[in-house]
Symmetry: C2
Subunit: 385 residues, 2 copies
């Protein structure tokens, strides 16, 4: 259970034992505040946004409402004792309805590692990589809540001897990512500039983009990843509003070549976050988000540069977060170098890829100016046969 | 306006002049039957499915309800005169809420042509092409109703001299496709076999998957098409139920190599359809669906082979339908051979790709056993600057 500070105030959707209907919650320490009940009891002007129990109406309500609700919660916390209960005692469910899901590929270290592994005879980065944030659409319908068991998927693969076969993946992997949750939509035909990032993006969540590397390697040319990814994408139950991350903004890495005008991010959205990758209790990696090459504002500007409309609930993820060091890589593909250097767990066993029964947690935190670190939630999942 | 025979009975969602709310309609000749009103007036057991005016509840209701509704409509047509009005006098809107959108690449002729154009130095078909139906996820949020103007998208491209620039696409194209509309969903983790195709798929629509070829060519390696496609995908207002296509089933082309067991389609879903591509009134192509290499049942089995769940409203399209002949190609990329052989229009002008103001129609029909041809609807769109 994540212990949230009182300045973070992330949102969730939860169900109390014995109840059917969901409620909107706010994380306060290790408690959850029942915002559906508290806002109704206070007769708050935005109480209607929480009646249905999902974050969908709040997302669609836009930045002024986001600000007003956060101000209301922060100012009233001490008066809310009757609406607090331990988060460990409730069921945290998928917090919003995912409209479209896009996955980017914004870490230079990750893209370089994957390029070396998947295309050993070519340049590690494709020629377009430093000119645009590469991304693709994933399957929104298989985005699942943290804690949902992940069944080892089957798929078609080609063996070293050229044999084509269908069966359970032998290379089940994780990808540690940050997800950006779109609140306010946009109009078809009208690009969203980098400067409007926080008019549209409500907040962030932690994402594990489960991957079947053997399936992906065989299928992905020429139209990109499909079944190697579409079986499950897990998201943290907590959505942390951008407002909580103001103190974690840092300069992103220098971009060379200079990006085209539509990708320039004047008030750059670098974020000093860390993603801890934990398998069966062993911390395998601490991936530094601050080193991501493309900022989320650039991702959003690119995503909409052709006029594609945004809808409330659109989710775009950063792609695997990997730093330059071995202990900073956000996937087993990179950590084990495609199985050639298995990683050791604390129980003495080793892993190239995930085994049935393995429990994976990706926990994110932010380092604020001044050095204080705040928790941002985590995403859990166990592999089942 | 499409003239439907009385055995086709496609569904739509429509809005009457001066009204706000949508109604579910059935195409009868050039009229639309107000099924929302007719079913309510008769107190039909399924009337509730049509109250909201979109096809969403009917899709989710499953095959028994689909059969019962079709039987009710067919049996009652002559008693429905008061609920018929000319389809030309109402607004046909997006008939269902698109959940996930997947685009396949199932025409061997199309994939071969594109491979020759995009990868002139390699084999036209990638090594995986005859082993699995290649597909990728597209943007559900930019699937639009027939008639929606399509604004020429801007995007990033690389010129012949290597210059990277951002601006309006110079290679705006169409893709003539058939879309398969999923009704009944499936459970996460449980693949849908080819034999269950018609338990899940409700019917078909006509799709124009607009494409910006210059954007696509620069962005698509390594993660597939993204902004070159995501600005708009137009669908016909009519969804033709599979039940209307029973007489159009034919054997698909022989598959060599034999597909793996999970892709075998015993009672094969080849369909003898034709897609007419019309630009500014000139018929440029008549693309034969019967020659598609992969059947829609194989596409669905592949899409779910990793356990990916289906939701009502999922849309998967065939990819561009192209036959072996010049006059059977479903994209301008192929028809003009990437601009090297512009096509002539009846007004004396020529086209490599679309110009602002161009009007595109893709009209589909089915040839039933015995040779009679029935209309399946059309998708229209005009390019605006």
């Amino acid at each position: 259970m994540t212990d949230f500070g009182r300045a973070t105030l992330p949102y969730c959707s939860f169900v109390r034992p014995g109840e059917e209907r969901a409620r909107v919650g706010v994380g306060v320490g290790t408690d959850v505040l029942d915002l559906t009940a508290a806002s109704a009891a206070r007769g708050h002007v935005h109480a209607g946004l929480f009646a249905a129990g999902s974050l969908d109406p709040l997302l669609a309500a836009g930045p002024l409402a986001w600000h007003e609700v956060r101000t209301f919660v922060a100012a009233s916390l001490d008066a809310f004792a009757e609406h607090l209960s331990p988060a460990a005692g409730v069921e945290l469910v998928l917090p919003f309805t995912v409209a479209d899901y896009v996955d980017f590929y914004a870490s230079e270290h990750h893209a370089t590692n994957v390029g070396r592994l998947f295309r050993p005879d070519g340049a590690a980065l494709t020629p377009n990589w430093k000119h645009l944030p590469i991304g693709y659409h994933g399957r929104a319908g298989t985005v699942v809540a943290s804690g949902t068991p992940v069944r080892r998927p089957s798929g078609q693969t080609r063996g070293h001897d050229g044999t084509i076969a269908f069966g359970p993946t032998a290379k089940l992997d994780i990808e540690a990512e940050i997800g950006f949750v779109v609140g306010a939509g946009s109009t078809l035909g009208e690009p969203v500039p980098t400067s409007s990032f926080d008019d549209h993006v409500f907040g962030i969540c932690v994402v594990n983009d489960w991957s079947a590397r053997d399936v992906q390697a065989w299928e992905y040319v020429p139209l990109g990843p499909f079944l190697g990814k579409s079986f499950a994408t897990s998201v943290s139950p907590w959505v942390v509003p951008l407002a909580a991350l103001a103190g974690a903004r840092v300069d992103p890495p220098r971009q060379d070549p200079e990006p085209l005008a539509y990708l320039q991010d004047e008030d750059a959205w670098g974020l000093d976050l860390e993603l801890e990758v934990i398998v069966n209790g062993t911390v395998l990696s601490r991936a530094p988000y601050a080193q991501m090459y493309w900022t989320p504002a650039q991702m959003l500007a690119h995503l909409t540069a052709n006029g594609a409309a945004l809808r409330p609930g659109d989710l775009f993820a950063s792609g695997t977060v990997s730093g330059p060091e071995q202990g900073q890589r956000g996937s087993l593909l990179e950590l084990s170098w495609n199985g050639s250097h298995p990683v050791l767990l604390d129980d003495g066993s080793s892993r190239s890829f995930l085994l049935d029964g393995d429990r994976v947690t990706i926990a994110a935190s932010a380092r604020l100016a001044g050095g204080r670190r705040i928790a941002l939630g985590q995403v859990d999942g166990q592999v089942v046969a």
